[in-house]
Amino acid sequence: MNDLSPILLSIKLSLVTTFFLFLFGIPFAWWLSVTKKRIKPAIEAIVALPIVLPPTVLGFYILLAIGSKGPFGKIYETLFDSQLAFSFTGLVVGSFFYSFPFAVQPIQSAFESVDKKLIEASWTLGKSKLETFRRIILPLSKKGLITGGVLSFAHTMGEFGVVLMVGGNIPGVTKVASIAIYDEVQALNYTGANIYSLILLLISFSVLLMVYVFNRQTVRSL
């Protein structure tokens, strides 16, 4: 019987990462969708970088930033008296940046597709910008929010390069499912690798299936 802790760790990492991506990604996506600043394309390009960069490159720079000698690593160590790299928190930081575009892009495009007239109508009905955001823009962007959330979750479940660079391979702390599979293959334990792989495959499939079923229902109800 395989040790299930890598799978559970992957799920925990994905949930925590998705939570923070929503927390910071929603306001950021909103800002991107309304800003008229000329640097917007540059910011969008930076956000999209993790899509095209090799995960090891991203992982390398994050490691430099959060390692003991990196600027953020130092601050973290002073504040919490523990190392940020090779810890679960470090993994969350790495995953956050790695999955950022997968959360922000669908949410931003959902925000952008909300009819401007509906927003103006809400204003003329006396509702503040924040209330309009909460009661009109967010509900109408439901599809983009769900897509962003699911992609963040699934993408974090499947990451390998960034996790390995930032977190290493510490059982119970940073050894996630994708790394466990690699370990099993290295040890020529194909059965173990197979079980982990199958579980990951099933989780990914179920999550995607849920999205497509949901989207079908949304399309029908409109």
């Binding site: 009819d115 007239k117 509906l118 103006e120 109508a121 809400s122 204003w123 003329t124 009905l125 006396g126 509702k127 503040s128 009661r135 009109i136 509900p139 109408l140 409109l222």
Partner: protein, 293 residues
């Protein structure tokens, strides 16, 4: 009592990309329906957006009962939320994720009484449809919902941006009647922009003709659209469907509602009329034939 007056100057691009400036001074008679009539691209919608606070002008001001909503000079520019306007958008802007009831409730504030919502739903014949979503309503019902929603918050000024233009004639006529009924009941001041002359003529109590951002005529609909007071004449707004000319006369086939009829005019008069134009056919009442039906 509310009195609205304003003056706007704003340069912007028209539909074909040409630059022109809006330059308009106006007052809106209290409790009356004022209609701004003009071709599309004459800056009509911009006026409404300026009044509602959705757009701002380079210079000018807008006042409601002496309270300044906008003043380019002093920099006062109240946000749309603080201007007591109801806005009826051309494409209605009904919230698709909310039901009829939900759309109406959205417009409420603490002061609104549910009796008002009930009355508005009754008057717009939407009672019984409270749980439907906008896409489950007919075109006419959607229009009436948008109208009712705009009135929930008891706006002191109702702004209408060609809201009835997409409807076919028979539905439009009914909406017009309902709109007038609501106006009689609640007595709000309204400003409507339209490029439909028969609509302007039917609804306006005060009319302004706008051309390329400038006011070219203002007064009662009779004065504005017919050039003079013609109370002893029969006036029918119609649409020109066909034109046939001989050497002296032109025979116009025109449509009013579902009826079509023909009128003769001199070729000189027909010169600036083209097929599709909205025109007013007037005849001396003394020459009218009256039949009992």
């Amino acid at each position: 009592m509310n009195r609205f007056e304003g003056s706007f100057r704003k340069t912007f691009q028209g539909e074909k990309g040409e630059e022109f400036s809006l330059d308009l001074d106006f007052t809106l008679p209290e409790g009356k329906i004022t209609v701004i009539f003009g071709p599309s691209g004459s800056g009509k919608s911009t006026i409404l957006r300026l009044i509602a606070g959705l757009d701002s002008a380079h210079s000018g001001y807008f006042k409601s009962s002496g309270e300044t909503w906008f003043s380019a000079e002093t920099g006062i520019n109240l946000p749309p939320q603080e201007r007591k306007t109801g806005f009826l958008f051309q494409d209605l802007a009904l919230f698709p994720h909310l039901t009829v009831k939900g759309n109406m409730n959205y417009a409420t504030n603490k002061k609104t009484e549910s009796i008002r919502i009930k009355e508005l739903l009754e008057m717009t014949e939407l009672t019984g449809l409270e749980h439907r979503y906008p896409h489950e309503l007919s075109g006419g019902q959607q229009q009436r919902l948008a109208l009712a929603r705009a009135l929930v918050g008891e706006p002191s000024l109702l702004l209408l941006d060609e809201p009835f233009s997409a409807l076919d004639r028979s539905v439009k006529k009914r909406i017009h009647e309902e709109f007038l009924k609501l106006h009689n009941r609640f007595g709000f001041t309204a400003l409507m922009v339209t490029h439909d002359i028969s609509e302007a003529y039917r609804l306006a109590e005060h009319a302004i003709i706008l051309k390329e951002g400038k006011k070219v005529k203002e007064g009662t609909p009779e004065e504005v659209f017919l050039g003079k007071t013609l109370s002893t004449r029969i006036q029918i707004p119609v649409k020109v469907l066909e034109m046939e000319s001989d050497e002296i006369h032109t025979l116009l086939t025109v449509e009013e509602g579902r009826r079509t009829f023909r009128v003769f005019v001199d070729n000189d008069e027909a010169q600036n009329i083209t097929i599709g134009d909205e025109v007013i056919v007037a005849a001396k009442a003394s020459e009218a034939l009256v039949f009992k039906v």
